[in-house]
């Protein structure tokens, strides 16, 4: 993957650079920020995360499974006491709830990993260790013909360092 990387020390400079890059129709832009910032969310205007869909689906699957376990156990090994129902849903709600949280929670985390594309085995292209410290980074995927134009935009908006990467 070829592109241009800019490191900014000021957040407003990085935001202006992103706006201008988008205006110039550079489509594939990634922002690196030491901490989540709404300013970048607005500038990048991505769709909301789909993590919630996985949370819902697996949460529902979890609660179903959580009820099914005790119902199946009660059916397999019935304890008949005083004419009470062999499978009684009231106490089984505890198991249903716990399994919903367990499966829904773990699915949320795995969905986050999958959608964020982590674990990542290599970080050599388009990343700089400063981006976890105090700098903001803008990585633009572009072909060599437009790389100079992207570099100009990043420099003009106050990038501390701009470099090509491949």
């Amino acid at each position: 993957m070829q592109g241009v990387l800019g490191a900014f020390h000021e957040i407003d400079s990085a935001l202006h650079a992103i706006e201008e890059l988008k205006k110039e129709r550079f489509g594939d832009i990634t922002v690196f920020t030491p901490t989540p910032r709404h300013e970048f969310e607005h500038a990048m205007s991505h769709a909301p995360s789909k993590v919630r869909i996985y949370t819902l689906i697996f949460g529902l699957a979890g609660v179903t499974f959580g009820y099914w376990i005790p119902v199946w156990i009660s059916d397999y090994w019935p304890l008949v006491v005083g004419g009470k129902p062999v499978a009684s849903w009231v106490p089984y709600t505890i198991l249903g709830f716990e399994v919903m949280v367990l499966i829904g929670g773990l699915a949320t985390v795995f969905a986050m990993f999958a959608l964020s594309r982590v674990p990542r085995l290599t970080m050599t292209v388009g990343y700089d260790p400063r981006f976890s410290g105090g700098h903001f980074g803008v990585w633009v995927v572009t072909d060599p013909n437009r790389a100079d134009s992207a570099m100009d935009i990043l420099k003009k908006n106050g990038a501390e360092e701009v470099r090509r990467e491949r």
């Binding site: 690196f32 005790p70 716990e98 985390v109």
Partner: protein, 484 residues
């Protein structure tokens, strides 16, 4: 992770004037990394504390080995009191864990600002406390190596645990709680591990940190999914924390024993758990802020806010104590009335009054703002709260079993050195993990603290600048951080 990213222009002003800016003494992101990563260097004091913790843990392990050899009789059980220190300490440690989830998840959903600097400590405390609590039901088993009989899985015995038993609910609740709490802790740690990875020079340590951080790069894509996932995990953890201690309370409330068979137990247990956990947060955070020189992160304002929460939960717990007496008095049930009389004026009065004084009376001192902002007093108070909450569980478990319906069911209970050894071992086990944690991974959430620090700007917002530099004096100039 808090999502209050942009510094607010209409900053809330609590009763402390300098609280308008969250961390006034922290100027930039680099300072956060430098100061918090700086706490990871081992010190002589840390080695000494770790040595003591390991020694206590080994005493506990040796005592347990002795108990396995001799049988549960070594532990001071005698009819009719067949639940003792192990169940008391189990409930105590589960309770300690709850404040961590309250601070990290519930206060996150409420956007309480003071959680930012203490939530990592609290969350780690949760995980290690639940790890400790989980040992006690196993310790309490006559044949501890058969603990897995409680887990429902297809097995050659063709026997399944009874899903109507509170002990099986415990297994589900505690295992889910441990899994979700550990996951929550780890997920929050990933961006911070990435910071440590990028700062690390030692190749071996860097490789370990790179693996643990999963190649995290702080990209907008990662943060977008991360913040959502974190929110949903917090939303799951919130009812979970309420359910877990409710389930623990069902261990008692489902029995027809006087003093136990009460519908007030679930909220009573949850409030007590949160109260005891906040006590332990003070016990841990106050010495650490001093040792790590991080008074400008865990500020007096944070301690003040946490103290108010402590006071509130103390009052809820106090109300629950009084309600129990009222219910017994108004029930017309002779056994309940006798039991509660025996609790406070009879056989177990000494334990009940330790509980009432430590949990109801001493925390009332937190009505004083001066004491809420005095770390030394908060630390001393937290020790009393820890003691009081252990005795609360003692008062729940032992007096009920020692004074049931018929005189032939009345007896006493005296823990042996085996009980004390294992109790000491549990503290050693907990603090061993905690001390190892704080020197390997950041005790404060670096990336989350950065969220509430104004980012560097080329053209700063004049309104914000005014609030930062003009409106309020720097706390180091006013002595706002205190000296304790």
């Amino acid at each position: 992770m808090a999502t209050t990213a942009a510094p607010s222009r209409t900053v809330e002003r609590p009763n402390i004037p300098s609280a308008a800016v969250r961390f006034p003494a922290i100027k930039d992101y680099e300072q956060v990394d430098r100061e918090i990563a700086g706490t990871l260097r081992p010190t002589l004091g840390w080695f000494a504390a770790l040595g003591i913790a390991i020694l206590c843990m080994l005493i506990g392990a040796t005592t347990w080995t002795y108990q396995i050899h001799e049988g549960l009789g070594a532990a001071g059980y005698q009819p009719p009191v067949m639940w003792g220190v192990y169940i008391i300490t189990f409930v105590f440690w589960v309770g300690i864990g709850h404040a961590g989830t309250l601070i990290s998840a519930i206060l996150y959903l409420f956007r309480a600002g003071f959680r930012t600097s203490i939530y990592r400590l609290s969350e780690a405390m949760t995980v290690f406390a639940v790890m400790t609590a989980g040992l006690f039901p196993i310790l309490h088993l006559g044949r501890p190596w058969k603990f897995f009989f409680l887990i429902p899985y297809p097995n050659w015995r063709l026997i399944w645990p009874n899903p109507k038993s509170p002990l099986v609910w415990d297994v589900f609740a505690i295992l889910t709680y441990l899994t979700i709490s550990s996951t929550f802790l780890y997920i929050g740690l990933i961006p911070d591990i990435a910071i440590l990875r990028d700062r690390e020079k030692n190749p071996v340590r860097k490789a370990i940190l790179a693996t643990l951080s999963l190649g995290w790069r702080n990209s907008d894509r990662e943060w977008r999914h991360f913040t959502r996932a974190y929110l949903f995990l917090a939303a799951f953890a919130t009812p979970l924390v309420l359910s877990v201690h409710s389930v623990v309370s069902f261990d008692f409330a489902m029995a027809l024993t006087p003093g136990w068979h009460a519908t007030i137990f679930p909220p009573y247990f949850v409030a007590g758990a949160i109260f005891s956990g906040i006590g332990m947060v003070f016990t841990i955070a106050i010495p650490l802020r001093k040792a790590f020189k991080l008074e400008h992160y865990i500020t007096l304002n944070d301690l003040d806010a946490a103290s108010k929460l402590c006071l509130f939960t103390s009052m809820v717990v106090g109300l629950a104590y009084l309600t129990e007496f009222q219910v017994a008095w108004m029930s017309g049930n002779r056994f309940e009335q006798d039991y509660f009389w025996n609790r406070v004026f009879g056989q177990w009065a000494w334990a009940a009054w330790i509980m009432l004084i430590c949990n109801m009376v001493l925390p009332l001192s937190l009505f004083s703002q001066k004491l809420r902002r005095n770390p030394t007093w908060l630390f001393i108070l937290s020790l009393f709260i820890n003691l009081g909450m252990w005795f609360e569980r003692f008062v729940i478990v032992v007096p009920s079993l020692s004074h049931e319906f018929e005189p032939w069911q009345w007896g006493s209970y005296k823990p042996t050195w085996v009980d004390y050894g294992i109790l000491l071992g549990s503290f050693g086990w907990f603090f061993m993990w905690f001390l190892l944690f704080i020197k390997q991974l950041p005790a404060m959430a670096m990336s989350e603290i950065k969220e509430v620090i104004p980012p560097r700007m080329k053209h700063p917002d004049p309104q914000l600048e005014h609030e930062l530099d003009v409106g309020y004096p720097h706390p180091s100039e006013t002595g706002e951080y205190g000296t304790a």
